[in-house]
């Protein structure tokens, strides 16, 4: 039999090409059908999200026509359609001292609790030395009263040993 691979003009190659195109068309119809299904059933989150965003932005604009969101924080509607009170009012436990704290007052509480403030420093000095000497290498503790930027970056790494032992000594041993 003669070789069939003599370019596209030989009848066998033509037949093969037609078969290939046939297969390709079937697959194209498959893809089109699947995309059609996704579009009509709203399964594509992005398509839906765009419509949602359009609707919500119109809604938010209607709900708050007078002022900008910063000026009138009580009545602003966020992207999920929720409103928030001016001061966060959820209560939870401070992980440092264990007291129940109002969320909106947490930052000032932490200042005192962890000894960042000027007054609080004096109170916590002795107790932090005692605490850190007890719990060497505890992953949580850097009760350094001088809130140095480097402190807060190193603390989560769980530096063992010389983490907060002598708070005045800032040469932390790198593990």
């Amino acid at each position: 039999m003669s070789v069939s691979n003599d370019g596209n003009s030989s009848p066998r190659s033509q037949l093969a090409s037609r078969c290939f195109e046939d297969l390709l068309d079937s697959i194209i119809v498959d893809v089109a059908s699947e995309c059609h299904r996704i579009a009509r059933l709203g399964l594509d989150r992005n398509l839906e999200e765009e419509e949602e965003e359009l609707r919500l932005s119109v809604q938010a604009r209607v709900a708050d026509p007078s002022s900008s969101s910063e000026a009138n924080s009580k009545n602003v509607v966020d992207i999920f359609g929720q409103t928030h009170p001016a001061i966060a009012d959820e209560i939870f436990e401070c992980m440092n001292c264990g007291r129940p704290i109002v969320a909106g007052r947490f930052a000032p509480h932490l200042e005192k609790c962890m000894g960042k403030g000027r007054k609080a420093r004096k109170v916590t000095r002795s107790s932090t030395i005692a605490r850190t000497r007890h719990s060497r290498g505890s992953p949580v503790s850097v009760y350094a009263p001088y809130s140095n930027a480097t402190n807060s970056n190193r603390a989560p790494n769980g530096t063992t040993g010389g983490s907060g032992e002598e708070y005045a000594d800032y040469t932390y041993g790198v593990p």
């Binding site: 297969l23 079937s26 194209i28 893809v31 009509r40």
Partner: protein, 111 residues
């Protein structure tokens, strides 16, 4: 004048003259019967997914659906949108591989 006695038989509704199946049809039947068509489809699908062709086509469909409004698209629309780009963007290696297999099938089927 006597009417011809060699009247051709009245064409029966059930007995329509069968067309000669074209070569293409014969091949198609052989492909399906031997199970080779299914294998070729699977192979082509797999290759097209691997090379990202399918994702491209889906992106084109998505963009079209977004433009037209997702409840206004028909399968027909999408097929017409995808077909020209789809045919043109099949990688050469994939096409060559499939053509090779088809040709060897044709050889083995003695066509």
């Amino acid at each position: 004048m006597r009417s011809s006695i060699n009247r051709p038989p009245t064409p029966d509704a059930n007995e329509e003259p069968e067309k000669e199946p074209t070569l293409q049809e014969i091949i198609n039947i052989k492909l399906i019967e031997s199970g080779e068509k299914e294998k070729l489809m699977e192979l082509l699908r797999e290759r097209l997914i691997e090379c990202g062709w399918r994702d491209e086509m889906k992106a084109i469909c998505r963009a079209y659906a977004r433009k037209k409004g997702r409840n206004n698209v028909t399968v027909d629309d999408l097929v017409h949108v995808v077909t020209p780009k789809g045919r043109a963007s099949v990688p050469d290696s994939v096409k060559a591989e499939l053509l090779q297999r088809i040709r060897s099938f044709l050889t083995s089927a003695a066509i």
